[in-house]
Subunit: 359 residues, 2 copies
């Protein structure tokens, strides 16, 4: 790829739906939730190395997580970890990192990646991306990567595609849709016009900043600084200004307002790994439907089916006589909960996590 291409990994989320495995102090991106020996952010980083060298990878994260990012990505240059002094959602985050990178490279192309998603087919991802970069480099605007919708998922946002760009697997975006109810989701699927919004965006720094100046001028003006970015003053400037901006997602701030947005549909085995159940459904299962991060030689399970079992590294399990459960053992809490009632976990967490110091 071109030396002007940068990957920005957004790693400020708290992933509260994976409680009790995820915590404020250790959100989902730092967990080896797939049991592959790597955290999600490590997998995202390695994926990014297929696109650009380490020097062109930036991670933007909450100030609290800077040290954890550095631990997980020891080969990432320290100056490529960008700290947000406050939680302001993805809108201000994108504006900040775009100012920062533009100061390094005035013609920068930025690929924005969530840090905690899964992509099984990385070859297709990288190949498609090359075409998307070529297109945006020539045409400008913002490219969204649209994930082929395999079922009527109510946990994802959707993108409705409009007219196709002639001769290319690229469409103008008609509309962005919030998470739908089940019936609406089914209508989306049946229409054939909708893809899942993966939150993966591609744009030139200059273009997106222009969009901010038009559609989110308050963010633009608050974070704009003449000769600030890349200078020794940047940190103090951001520490003062960033907490002042409105908290808003990049989708609300820009994507849903701008007319210059494209979508490239692809089928790359993507999941946002949004819930325990999505993790269970996604993973390869044996005949007993046991999905676990435990190595087979480390568990003895008989007469038990439909389990999602997550244990601390090296821990053994002996299980029988239970079905369709989430069994999540961290070192400080054991959760055993019916898989089809996982939506209740958030409520339980709200009730107990604060008292237990396990938020």
């Amino acid at each position: 790829m071109d030396k002007d291409t940068f990957v920005v990994i957004m790693a400020g989320g708290v992933g509260s739906r994976f409680w009790p495995a995820s915590r404020n102090s250790q959100p989902k991106q730092f967990l080896d939730i797939l049991g592959v020996g790597k955290s999600l952010i490590q997998m995202t980083y390695e994926r990014s190395l297929n696109i650009v060298p380490a020097s062109n990878i930036f991670v933007i994260t909450n100030a609290n997580y800077v040290d954890q990012v550095a631990e997980h990505l020891p080969e990432l240059p320290a100056e490529n970890i960008i700290s947000e002094p406050a939680r302001k959602n993805t809108g201000p985050c994108v504006a900040y990192i775009s100012f920062h990178i533009q100061a390094i490279c005035s013609n920068a192309m930025i690929l924005l990646l969530p840090s905690d998603h899964m992509i099984s087919n990385e070859m297709v991802f990288v190949r498609s991306l090359a075409k998307a970069i070529q297109f945006i480099d020539a045409e400008g605007g913002i490219m969204t990567l649209g994930m082929q919708a395999h079922h009527a998922n109510t946990g994802y946002g959707y993108i409705q595609t409009g007219p196709q760009i002639e001769g290319k697997n690229i469409y103008k975006v008609a509309t962005f849709k919030e998470k739908p109810d089940a019936q609406t989701a089914q209508e989306y699927i049946d229409s054939g016009d909708f893809v899942w919004n993966a939150g993966i965006f591609l744009f030139k720094a200059g273009d997106i900043l222009h969009q901010f100046s038009v559609f989110a001028p308050e963010i633009y003006q608050t974070l704009y600084g003449e000769n600030i970015y890349g200078s020794p003053e940047e940190e103090a400037f951001i520490n003062e200004r960033y907490p002042q901006v409105t908290s808003i997602s990049i989708d609300y701030a820009i994507m849903e307002k701008s007319s210059n947005i494209y979508c490239m549909p692809m089928d790359i085995g993507w999941s946002d790994l949004g819930t325990w159940k999505s993790l269970f459904e996604l993973q390869a299962k044996d005949e007993d439907e046991i999905v676990t991060n435990v190595k087979p030689e480390n568990y003895y399970i008989e007469g038990a089916t439909g389990l999602l079992l997550q244990l601390p590294k090296g821990k053994k399990a002996v299980i029988s006589g239970v079905d369709n459960l989430l069994i999540v053992d961290t070192n400080d809490v054991l959760m055993i909960w019916p898989k089809d009632r996982e939506q209740e976990i958030k409520q339980v967490k709200d009730e107990v996590a604060s008292n237990w110091n396990l938020e």
Copy 2:
């Protein structure tokens, strides 16, 4: 009590039925299996302090557990921890400790206590014991404490009582019976002549050693040493001789053969805490039948009943949708197993524990 009275706590057992909580390296007596903040051996030691001062309490245990005993009982004089250089069951153990204590006090009265049992009503225990000591001091022989049998338990040995000693709650022992089958156990209960054998015995050191010389002469002769016990030569002597003796229980070696054995029945809320299920049945339960060593503020359990939940100290639990399970979490293994199939656990242990280094 008299300065000639000694309590001997036998703490060499491995308690394998409480796997995975109990291990060879940390058997049951060192666990806080009742969730009271004290290990079973600590509870037994404190119970013994109601009978004699610390100087008159001895713990005899396998060489491997000497350090653990010292950790659990920091106030016990170090010289009162007696080490068995080999596992030889309770027969040789009693002979050895009797020789040892007789050298300290030629007229010693010894109360032999297992280290890992539960006694709820300690007042009755201590009061009854005073009478038993008085009787054996006057009459000689061996007193067994018989536990009132509340149900046809097939996990206990039984004692059939013979003629009553006039004016006393003391009987001659007719026979000792091994663990019976269910029908036989019921016949025992129905007859009214049987009590549970708790393995708690009272005798003068000189008397029991005489019994050894008659009924187990090989043990007596191998362990007999003129002026050895209490001398600097004792340790080397025992290290040489002890491994040579036959492994046999005190019940087989002496109790079932001697005719001079008495039984004092009592009802003191005793249990040998032999299995997870016995622990469950013994403990106070709330309406959901949750028995746990976890403090109520540290668990959130709803829509779940009949659980025996054992977690490491300080660990929290969130549980729903499961019934009648043993849930045992140590830091290195999680076991979830149907309570009414606990007898299978030994088999599973045999299959996995060695590979997992969790024996």
